[in-house]
Amino acid sequence: MSITPLSFTGISKFSNDFQTILNRSVSIASLPAKLLENEQKSILDKKMAVADLRSAVSDLASSLTQAGRLGSGGALTAISSSTTVVATAGSGAAPGSYVISDISSLAAPAVATSASGYANSSTAQVSSGDHKLQIVAGGVERTIDLTAATDNLEGVRDAINRLNLGVAASVIDTHQEPQRYFLSINATSPGEQTIELRRVADDPASNLLEVTNPGSNAKFKVNGRDVTVTSNSVSSVVTGVNLELKGLTAAGEAIHVAVSADRTPVSSALQAFVDAYNALSRKVDAQIGKNAGVLTGDPVVFNISDRLREVIGFQGPGAFRSLSDLGITLDSAGVMSFDSTAITWMGSAELQHAFEFLGDGATGLSSLALHLTALSDPVNGFMRSQLSSYDEADSRLTQQISDINARVNAMQATMMARLQAADTLLASLESQQNMLTATIDSLNLVTNGRKDQ
C-alpha cells in the first residue's frame, strides 16, 4: 500500500497553515517506510551479488567435475581406419586396438507382404469366413479376433498394431486394379525372424504372407572372432566402445579401431577450469578491501575465499603434486593461466599422472567440486540458505512498509477531517464577527456620528 497525499482545501485565513501541518505530519509518519524501503534495496543488492557469486561458484564446480570425468575416463577417444565402421569410446572404455573384418551381413528388419491383393481395403474379407486369423511374429503366436465389420485389411492392420508384437502393419495401395491393396507387416527392430498371418490356426500352409525380407543379423569378426548381433549399432562386444556398422567389408579388408587418450579435451577442460577460477576470483575480490561491494564482511565471501585457497593449494597424491605440473600457474595478482603445451607434449605416462592428479570426482583435484557444490547447490547449498534469508527479510520489510503506509494513510485522513472542522469553524466565526462588528459600527455611526462609541 502506498501513501496517497491529500490536498487541504480550506476556507479560513489559516488554510495555508493547515496544509503545512498536514504535509509535515505525513512526511514524519512516512519516515519509517522510507527507511525500510532503503533497507529493501540494500537486501536486493545483496541478493543479486550472492546470486552472481553462486553462479560463478557453480561454474567452477562444473569445470572440476568435467575434469574429473576426463580423469576417470582417461579422455579416451576411438578412431576407426574406415568409414565403414564408426567407433565411439564411452564410459568403461580402455586403451587398445581392435581389428574389424568380414562384415558379411548388416542387420535388417524382417518384412512380409500379403501374397494376394485385395480390391478394397475396408470391405474385402481377409479371413476364411470365421473372422479369425493367427499371427506369428518374434516367435509368438496370437489369435486375431475380427468382426464382420473389421474383417478387412484395415481392420487386420489395426488389430495387429494393437498386439504390440514388435511388428508394424500397414496397408499398401499399389494402384494396380483390380486388386490394388496389400497388407505389409515389418519388424520394428532388425534381425532374422518369421512373420506369418494364418487363416487357420497352427497351419503354416494357410499363411497369407510371403516374405519380402526375412530379416538379418549383423555378422562380422572382431580380432578374428565371429560376432553375430541383431543391430548395426554394436556396444556389447568391446566394453565401453560402440561400433556403428555402415556397410560390408571387401574380401580381405581389415578395419582398425584404436582407443587411446586424446589431449585436446584435457586441454579444453583445464582451460575451462582456469577461466572459471579467474571469473570467481574476480567476483570475490570485488567484495573484499577498501572498495568492497555490498557483501563486505559477509560469511559467504569468506567461505568462497577458503574454497579458492583450497583449489590453488591442492596437492596431488601421485607423481604430479601441484597445478603447475599441469601447466597452470598463478601470477602475483592471483590470476591463473594455463599453458596448453604442457599437456600437448606430455607422454602417455605423464598423461596418466595428470589424470591421477585430476582424480575421478571422489578423489584428486576434481573432488573439490563437492566442497564448492556445498556452497552453490540450488537446493541445499549455503548460498541458497543465504538467499532464502534475504527473501524472508525482504518479505518482512514489505509487510512492515505496507503496515506503516496504511497507518499513515489513516492518520492523514483523520488529521484532514480534524483540520477541515477547525478551519470551517474559524471561517464561520470570522464571518460572524465581521457581520457583528459591522452592525455595531453602523449603530455607533448613526447615533454618535463615528464608529467607536
Partner: protein, 112 residues
C-alpha cells in the same frame, strides 16, 4: 421588549452556549454556530438608531463572546498541531528501525 431587543438577547445566549460547547469540545457547537449565523443575519437588517443602551451593551457582549469563541477555535487548531508534535515519536521509531535493519543487524544475519 422590541423584536431587535429580543433578538439581541437570544443572540447573546446563543453565543454563550457556543463558547461553552467549544470549551467542552462538544460537537453540538455546530448547531449553535449555525443558529448564531441565522440570528446575526436577521439582526443585521433590524437594528435602528433608537436601539436601547441595554441592547447595545448586549451586542458588545456578543462581540466579546465571539472573540472568545475565535480564541477557542484557535486552541482547537493548536491541539492538532500538538498532535503533530506527537508524531516526533514516529521519527524516533524510524531511527530505531534503521538500527535494527542496518547492514550489520542481527535480523539479516543468517548465522543469528
Amino acid at each position: 421588549m422590541s423584536d431587535p431587543d429580543r433578538l439581541v438577547r437570544e443572540l447573546e445566549s446563543c453565543s454563550v452556549a457556543l463558547l461553552e460547547a467549544l470549551r467542552r469540545r462538544d460537537a453540538i457547537y455546530l448547531e449553535y454556530l449555525q443558529r448564531r449565523e441565522q440570528l446575526l443575519a436577521r439582526l443585521f437588517g433590524m437594528v435602528a438608531p433608537n436601539t436601547g443602551p441595554e441592547a447595545r451593551a448586549a451586542l458588545e457582549r456578543v462581540r466579546i463572546l465571539g472573540n472568545l469563541a475565535v480564541v477557542e477555535a484557535q486552541r482547537m487548531r493548536h491541539a492538532v498541531a500538538t498532535d503533530l508534535a506527537a508524531l516526533e515519536q514516529e521519527r524516533r521509531i524510524a531511527k530505531g528501525l534503521r538500527e535494527v535493519c542496518g547492514p550489520h543487524s542481527l535480523s539479516l544475519d543468517v548465522r543469528a
